[in-house]
């Protein structure tokens, strides 16, 4: 198998309102148990709106958060201990906010060197060589190395963030909304850089974003998250051109597009379900026009051909 990331039964619950005595007020299931496989060299896009659990998933994948259940395998090796350093060599992370992910009190060089020292134990010369190699790749000038993070624009800072992820020499990179904080003209630069790097280094990406168009532009496969579950997964072309889950369709129709008239795609009263008091059955059913009796009874699981699965009792054809 050529699987880069294999996730099985991964879930996360948070305890809300701990009390001195007695059970806590509630448990929020941020992520329902899910399975996921990412091929080597593939880009998996993960789409969802705020609160759908995409960041929880991302943080678990790199070991920053301990899963409640489940197993993560990177390149066939299971990682159960949440020691980010253990994960670090195999899977790296690019943060959403490029500036706050850089320690304001350190020079870029110090930031870049940390993974080389702590993950790979390289000597001084070796480090300098690696850093200049990587800086070359992300087209940053070496003179930046002695500056501090606040001296950089968002686009440059994100390049530095990417460069740092690269220094760990991991084969898998989780990109958590890597361009949503950037201006559109810079966003394209960064996306193109990511594409170049992937090609050169044969990387595997998990690309998380709320922006469907961006995800579509970079992904081979796409998973759609809603309320802590994957509701649809498949190849990029399939998922957006012929969505099977009503939520995916809603997402696609909601994006403002030049030339499409403005109309409310759904009823104004709809709101996201309350995580402390989740509805029974399909979480989307309250917003769904196609809901049937079955939807309230039990939650659907992913079904369909390997290249396009949806979790829906009454999928769109």
């Amino acid at each position: 198998m050529n699987t880069a990331v294999h996730v099985e039964n991964l879930s996360k619950s948070f305890v809300v309102g701990k009390r001195l005595l007695g059970p806590p007020k509630g448990i929020v299931k941020a992520l329902h148990p899910l399975n996921l496989d990412v091929e080597k060299g593939e880009t998996l896009g993960i789409v969802g709106e705020s609160g759908c659990g995409k960041s929880t998933l991302a943080r678990m994948l790199v070991g920053l958060l301990e899963p409640t259940t489940g197993l993560i395998e990177i390149s066939g090796e299971p990682l159960q201990n949440t020691d980010p350093a253990l994960f670090g060599r195999k899977i790296q992370y690019v943060f959403q906010d490029p500036v706050s992910s850089l320690n304001p009190r350190k020079t870029i060089r110090q930031i870049m060197e940390a993974p080389l020292v702590h993950l790979h134990g390289l000597g001084r010369d070796e480090r300098a060589r690696r850093i200049s190699e990587i800086f070359e790749m992300v087209s940053l000038r070496e003179e930046f190395l002695d500056r501090y993070p606040h001296e950089f624009s968002g686009g440059q800072a994100q390049r530095i963030g990417i460069a740092r992820a690269l220094t760990a020499d991991a084969q898998v990179i989780v990109l958590d909304e890597p361009v949503s904080a950037l201006d559109v003209s810079v966003q394209a630069q960064v996306l193109n850089l990511l594409a170049d790097l992937k090609r050169q280094l044969n990387l595997t990406y998990l690309f998380i974003s709320h922006d469907l168009a961006v995800v579509e532009a970079v992904s081979d496969r796409i998973a759609v998250l809603y309320f802590g579950s994957i509701v649809e997964v498949g190849t990029a072309a399939e998922v957006f051109s012929s969505p099977r889950h009503p939520y995916t369709k809603l997402l696609a129709e909601s994006a403002p597009v030049v030339g499409r008239p403005l109309k409310a795609p759904e009823n104004a009263e709809t709101e996201l379900p309350d995580p402390l008091d989740p509805p029974t059955g399909c979480a989307f059913r309250a917003r769904c026009r196609n809901a049937i009796a079955e939807c309230a009874a039990s939650s659907p699981s992913l079904e369909g051909p390997a290249n396009h699965q949806a979790a829906c009792f009454n999928p769109l054809s």
Binding site: S101, N103, Q189, A236, P256
Partner: protein
């Protein structure tokens, strides 16, 4: 470091504090070599000599000891103890605070409970009890003062550490393979140190006061050794007859503590990054208007709102950011005008300048005219501006969580919008508020009116924002990126709502966005802004279909559109210019593929005919050509 001192000394009070402190410290250091009388030799016959006498500049105390000499020796001791206590308390307290804040959970809980206990203990009594247990003496007083201040530091530093420990760079460090200890030392500590320094610089004065207090109670230095507090304590019995023996040490404490506080404030200000950008100044009720501006006759009298050659700058220290560099715009009744641009292009500042809502300082309107129905608003009185704000011209802002007052119920915020302009009974205003909530399609309006903003979802909040803008049936609504912070499905709802409302009520809308899709769907006309100026303006369908300015067309090209599949995007090389240092000529020239030498050596005018204009010497297509193509 040099920058730090430059900042510090720019603050004149801090500089004064530093100078006084420097003098005091130098005097204290030099005390052993200065030609002073022995501070401990008594000469009871010469007691209570008044100040400015021969041989005793500050007089003598109750045992005839030279007050000047005792004062300097006492200062030396008090300073040393104050500094030492602050240092000890800061070190121990910060260590506790960092550990509690970083590890959180149970560790935090236990430590902070302990801190709570110590804080609930009256601090003077704690100090007193410590001194009582250890025996009197300045060193023990020092320990006591340090000990009672440990909780203060622990608590402060813990708060800061918690916020730092959750920063992304800490996660990044973890992913770089650093352990907890190393992260604490190399990631957290450097970011906490400025706070520790600030806390220390503002507490040294307090420490000196407290040590003086203990000495005053007789628990500090042992006779005949002088420190300022014990001098004050000893002098107390002679307060009425010989007040100078009290006033001399008392005034010295005052001077030292005041100098330290001034200096501490200065250090705090110099270390606080927000102050560097001048951000901690209070915005005035209305944006400042440059008195020496060249006045401009109001533009288009037909228009509801007409902006002519508006220039708004931010003046931060010696830099001038020309956020808006001469903008002409107008909007007619019932029209929706879009302003599109990237961050920093000046679109929001333009919008806020209309009603004088740009923060000032540092903002200042330096030129131009804004006319509402022919009435000039630039330079108008606060009273005039306020009368229009929210009544004729209303705003909808970007992030509804930040723009609604978090502590007022939304119903009250709505009624306030009404009663600020119309003296109507409260009940009527409430009724109207509920109607407004219904108008923006909020379910259960009556009960929602009693909610606080945080209890609503983002979409609902923004509906409240819209309802608030509609409160007084304004003529113009200026919507500053009202959907940017929202999820895409919610955005679609809000946009549809705005569109309906504007058609129902014949509103004029100025809609600011960075999203071409939104403009296309909502706006009749659009103006594209780059580096503080409009580079292209015209009917939205026209512009989106046939962008003429290279910036417009390139920008549209680099935004992926849904349905395009996986692909390479067309990026624009380089970065937008910073508006404090605009190049001559076209601001986009540096990133433009069509650039010619002329582009950068002359002012480029916005040229065009009627509904379409562009600021470019070498447009993608000439406007005339464009028309012919149609």
């Amino acid at each position: 470091m040099r920058q730090f001192f430059a900042l510090l000394f720019r603050n004149r009070l801090a500089a004064a504090g530093a100078i006084v402190m420097a003098i005091v410290v130098v005097l204290a250091l030099l005390t052993p070599v200065l030609p002073l009388a022995d501070p401990d030799v008594t000469n009871t016959g010469d007691r209570f000599i008044r100040p400015f006498s021969d041989g005793h500049l500050l007089g003598t105390d109750h045992l005839g000891r030279d007050l000047l000499s005792r004062l300097l020796w006492g200062t030396r001791l008090s300073l040393a103890v104050g500094f030492a206590a602050a240092l000890i308390a800061a070190t121990i307290g910060s260590a506790i605070g960092i550990i509690a804040g970083y590890f959180g959970g149970r560790t935090d809980n236990i430590i902070m409970r302990g801190v709570d206990m110590l804080m609930a203990f009256p601090y003077i009594l704690l100090a007193l009890a410590i001194v009582a247990a250890l025996g009197p003496g300045l060193f023990n007083a020092l320990i006591a003062v340090a000990a009672v201040n440990v909780p203060f530091f622990a608590r402060n530093i813990r708060g800061i550490t918690v916020s730092i420990a959750h920063k992304e760079f800490v996660d990044a460090a973890r992913l770089s393979g650093m352990g907890d200890m190393r992260i604490i030392l190399s990631e957290v500590l450097p970011n906490v140190i400025p706070v520790i320094v600030i806390a220390m610089s503002t507490t040294i004065g307090w420490m000196i006061l407290e040590t003086a207090g203990l000495s005053f109670l007789g628990l500090g230095s042992q006779p005949p050794q002088a420190d300022l507090g014990s001098m004050l304590g000893e002098a107390r019995s002679a307060l009425i007859t010989n007040p100078h023996t009290s006033i001399v040490p008392g005034a010295m404490i005052l001077v030292i503590v005041m100098a330290i506080n001034l200096l501490g404030d200065g250090i705090r200000d110099a270390l606080d990054p927000r102050l560097k950008s001048g951000a901690l100044s209070r915005p005035k009720p209305a944006t400042l208007v440059d008195k020496n501006r060249t006045e401009m006759p109001p533009g288009d009298p037909e228009a509801l709102l007409s902006i002519r050659d508006l220039r708004t700058e931010f003046r931060i220290k010696d830099k001038i950011y020309k956020a808006v560099g001469g903008v002409d715009l107008s909007v007619r009744p019932g029209e929706c005008l879009g302003i599109i641009g990237e961050s920093g292009s000046g679109k929001s500042v333009t919008a806020l300048s209309v009603m004088g809502l740009v923060s000032s300082p540092p903002g200042i309107i330096t030129a131009g005219s804004v006319a509402f129905k022919g009435e000039e608003l630039v330079g108008a009185s606060y009273k005039t501006l306020r009368a229009y704000r929210g009544d004729r011209v209303a705003y909808i802002f970007q992030d509804p969580l930040a723009t609604l007052h978090p502590l007022f119920r939304i119903g009250d915020q709505l009624t306030e919008a009404i009663t600020s302009h119309h003296a109507i009974p409260k009940k009527e205003a409430n009724q109207r508020a509920i109607e407004l909530l219904r108008a923006v399609r909020i379910p259960n309006a009556e009960s929602r009116a009693k909610s606080f903003p945080h209890e609503l979802s983002g979409g609902m909040r923004q509906r409240v924002g819209i309802a608030m803008a509609l409160a007084n049936d304004p003529d113009v609504i200026i919507a500053d990126e009202p959907t940017t912070a929202l999820d895409v499905t919610v955005q679609a709802q809000i946009l549809a709502l705005l569109n309906d409302l504007r058609r129902e009520r014949g509103l004029a809308i100025i809609f600011i966005t960075h999203d071409f899709g939104v403009v296309a769907q909502l706006c009749d006309r659009v103006a594209v802004m780059y580096a503080g100026r409009i580079v292209e303006e015209g009917d939205s369908a026209d512009i989106l279909g046939n962008p003429v300015h290279p910036y417009t067309s390139r920008l549209m090209a680099c935004v992926p559109e849904l349905g395009g599949g996986k692909r390479e995007l067309e990026a624009i090389p380089g970065l937008p210019p910073v508006v404090n240092n605009l190049p001559a000529g076209c601001a986009f020239a540096e990133r433009c593929a069509n650039r010619q030498p002329q582009c950068t050596n002359q002012e480029i005018e916005l040229i065009g005919t009627g509904s379409r204009s562009v600021r470019c010497l070498f447009p993608e297509k000439s406007l005339v050509e464009d028309r012919e193509l149609q």
